[in-house]
Amino acid sequence: MSEKAGGEAGTSVCSRGEDRATASADGAHPMLRVRDLWVSYGKLRVLHGVNLEVKRHGVVALLGANGAGKSTLLRAISGLARPDAGSIEFEDESIVGQRPSSLVHRGLVHVPERRPLFADLTVEENLMVGAYSTRGRSAIATALERAFEYFPILKERSRQRAATLSGGEQQMLVIARALMASPRLLLLDEPSLGLAPLVVRDIYRIITRINREQGVAVLMAEPNVGIALSIADLGYVIETGTVMSVGSAAELRGSEQVRRSYLGQGAAST
């Protein structure tokens, strides 16, 4: 695998010696705070008391194998899944039980896995749906301009049906659609799924730019540890529904356990 392409955006900004999620050393209030979150699907318990924080403008990666509970955690935060217990605070207000659409209005936008888009609508129409929470013609035009600036290929394809896009372009479209709502926190679920390494690198480069230029905080589930740690400040390793370890990108890269469990072949071949 050629996934060691990361590093070009090397950003281990914070490296605290802390290992617990409750550590917000800077004293600043975290933008998102998840405490002791329990979630189940039917009778199956998926998350067992997860703690997590995302700082304003921060980039946090959720690492872990498929089925570890990363998607469930994102779904619970965005309101798609109902927690059994625990609290979720966004900008110091509890958001448990809120509808996903009202969270979008508050600036928390979830880009789910498998890039669900409106296949029969054009690229531009897809983006306009994303602008539902944006009021005013000029504000929408500005948002569209900004989306096209980050994803110029979408401008070229703006009149095409979304179904005709390539996988990478579809991923760009769902991120661009989320951008139309002017988010302050973006939840990304496996943006790299099924995409060629070069495309993945492009997409992550743009995500990094969005984070830096728009100040959008990012919480992403990404099984590809190499690429995730290349842009994240902080990583949470999730295993069978609990947080196994927390650390800065550099710490996690150096961690023997993470290396063995997740960097897998990538680490072995270097």
Binding site: R99, S101, V129
Partner: protein, 306 residues
């Protein structure tokens, strides 16, 4: 020749109202994936309300108010009934049974409140039929056609050329994705039901002035509306319009010419009263179409979702 033309035109005019009811079905089915069997009963109920309003109000005001009442009834039914069906069961058999229940509830309400006897419904353009070189066109039919066409056009513009319509289409296509894009999809469902039942109410008021107002005046119309919607593949507005008009023509022609056709084909039976077979044709169309082209004449072939 004149008779053929006469029957075709009469059929086409009547057929437009099937399209309106069918369109209401399509709007609801698209947004909520539910086929509303209560459509006709709800439309009739609202028409009775409009009738009681029209005893005191001038026609345009009563008509407009009737349409608004229909919208509100539709939205309320979504909010108070449909939404109570657990989300997991929304696409299965349960909502179907629920809408069948709506049929009986609204039929019962109509008969209970207004009684079973027919009432004359005010006609805005009463008068003798218009004579076009021997072809007679009733004013009530013409009015029905005009309003139906206007309504179809208005809905088309709403769905194709406004942001609200775009959001409604997005909700219909993928509800979760729409919700995550910030669209309050529960409100969109209410809106879709409001629009759908508004169509049924308008159709009811148009039919009542053509025929007369009875609690079951729309029963057969619902079947034709289904047929029209199926022609459009349950998702095409243009297809539903064409389907409705086509069915109206077919129905009208069957009523007059079926006997001749049977004789001409030397089939081993006689049709003494072709009028009795008029409504059969809609059912035949539904069955044949569902077998031959399940996606409808106009519906796009669905890609199986994984």
């Amino acid at each position: 020749m004149t008779q053929l033309l006469q029957q075709t035109i009469t059929g086409a005019l009547t057929g437009s109202v099937y399209a309106v009811v069918g369109l209401g079905l399509v709007v609801i089915a698209q947004a909520t994936e539910i086929i509303n069997f209560g459509q006709a009963a709800m439309g009739t109920f609202v028409t009775f309300i409009a009738w009681s309003l029209l005893l005191r109000l001038p026609y345009p005001a009563g008509f407009l108010l009737g349409t608004i009442v229909a919208f509100v009834v539709g939205a309320l039914v979504e909010r108070l009934v449909i939404r109570m069906v657990p989300e997991k069961e929304r696409t299965g058999l349960n909502p179907l049974i629920v809408t069948l229940g709506l049929l009986f509830v609204f039929y019962g309400l109509t008969v209970g409140i207004y009684g079973g006897q027919p009432h004359p419904f005010p006609q805005p353009f009463a008068g003798p039929p218009i004579d076009l070189h021997g072809v007679h066109i009733g004013r009530a039919s013409l009015y029905l056609f005009g309003v139906s066409l206007a309504l179809v056009l208005a809905l088309y513009l709403l769905f194709r050329h406004t942001r609200l319509g775009l959001v409604l289409r997005a909700t219909a296509a993928n509800r979760t994705a729409a919700e995550l894009a910030g669209v309050p999809t529960d409100r969109m469902m209410m809106l879709a039901w409001g629009l759908g039942i508004a169509c049924a109410g308008v159709a009811g008021m148009l039919l009542a002035q053509l025929l007369s107002l009875t609690p079951n005046m729309m029963d057969v119309v619902l079947v034709f509306a289904f047929a029209a919607a199926v022609v459009g593949g349950l998702d095409s507005m243009v297809g539903t319009l064409v389907g409705g008009v086509l069915l109206g023509v077919l129905q009208s022609l069957t009523g007059v010419y079926l006997g001749n056709v049977v004789r001409w084909l030397h089939l081993p039976f006689n049709i003494a009263q072709p009028q009795q077979y008029r409504d059969l044709i809609a059912l035949v169309v539904i069955v044949v179409l569902l077998i031959v082209r399940p996606q409808g004449l106009f519906g796009r072939k669905r890609v199986v979702k994984l």
